[in-house]
């Protein structure tokens, strides 16, 4: 149990460390992927518009000045608005953009589960089991009589 817990902690730390390093020492390519060109609305990495070139120059200068990733993004949001971010910030009203897809998936899974449950119950209800049959399948009396006749003829 302790080993498992330690393993989880090590994996979690392994994921947190690069994120912290990226926040403190961002690179131009990763910021280009997380920002949008305000004129062409493409990823900054894919855009060759004049304002995209100017934004890249700004980002390089801010990285050289030692700004963190959040600080650089915040300065760009101040100049161009939140539409410059490729993903909405995880705060305020924008939090809905993160929560709603997850809520949708959970709701859809619930609906599918509910329908599957109802469907399986419906099928069971359609096949009533005779309590005296001890779980065995019971034949129509006429069919049972004919089977008995055939078996008797076969034995004879």
């Amino acid at each position: 149990m302790m080993r498992r817990l330690l393993a989880v902690i090590v994996v979690a730390l392994g994921m947190v460390a690069p994120a912290a390093a990226s926040e403190q020492n961002p690179t131009l390519p990763e910021l280009e992927r997380e920002l949008i060109c305000p004129t062409c609305h493409e990823s900054l990495a894919a855009s060759s518009s004049p304002i995209a070139d100017r934004m890249r120059a700004f980002i390089r200068a801010r990285i050289a000045a030692g700004d963190t990733k959040s600080e650089i993004k915040s300065q760009l949001v101040d100049q161009f608005g939140e539409s410059v971010l490729a993903a909405p910030p995880k705060s305020g009203f924008n939090l809905l953009a993160w929560i709603l897809p997850l809520a949708g998936i959970v709701l859809a899974a619930g609906v599918v589960g509910f329908l599957a449950y109802r469907w399986s119950r419906g099928r069971k209800a359609e096949e009533p089991v005779d309590p005296s049959s001890n779980g065995r399948f019971s034949l129509d009396p006429e069919l049972e009589r004919r089977v008995d006749e055939e078996l008797a003829r076969y034995d004879a």
């Binding site: 004049p50 304002i51 100017r54 101040d78 100049q79 161009f80 608005g81």
Partner: protein, 178 residues
């Protein structure tokens, strides 16, 4: 009972799909829709470049307005700026205002552009580009002309202005024969 639940779920699914399609159609229809000439100019209040003081388009009611959308990185905007500055000098005492709207730009670049071009007419900063969609602006520079009643008149010039087009449309905005 199961049949009723099924019908309600189907109706809800159809409603959701219909709403999404309606939203998509509305977005496509609304996007960068250019306002009609003769209609009231879309109103806005924006901070002036280099200050926190806000300027409302409505404050120019009673004057003809040359509304010019620009950005510092736009080459033709550099060529056009002297024409606009010249028109502002000649017409500011005759009831004409030249109003620049700078968008999709850095503050510092916009201020440098204004200083270098020697622009003295008012400039507002539209940091979020909120006016661009209302005026159907798809590139820079673009210019609209507004008369004293606040209506869009003359031509919507999408691209650099010529001296002739500027003079002609200012006269139209002033209600003079073009």
């Amino acid at each position: 009972m199961a049949g009723r639940v099924k019908i309600v779920l189907q109706a809800a699914a159809v409603l959701v799909v219909a709403l999404l399609l309606a939203l998509l159609g509305w977005q496509v229809f609304q996007k960068d829709k250019e306002p009609d000439l003769g209609r009231a100019a879309p109103q806005f209040t924006l901070p002036q470049l280099g200050s926190d003081t806000e300027l409302a388009l409505a404050s120019f009611r009673g004057k003809a307005v040359v509304l010019n959308f620009w950005a510092s990185w736009c080459g033709p905007c550099k060529d056009e700026a002297p024409l606009l500055e010249s028109a502002w000098s000649r017409y500011k005492d005759k009831g004409v205002v030249v109003l620049g709207v700078d968008a999709q730009d850095f503050d510092v670049d916009a201020q440098r552009f204004v200083d270098r071009a020697g622009i003295t007419y008012p400039i507002v900063r539209d940091k979020h580009g909120s006016t661009l969609g209302h005026y159907g602006v798809t590139g820079f520079p673009e210019t609209w002309f507004i008369n004293a009643e606040g209506r869009l008149v003359g031509e919507h010039v999408a691209g650099p202005l010529t001296e002739e087009a500027l003079e002609r449309n200012i006269r139209i905005a002033l209600g003079e024969p073009a």
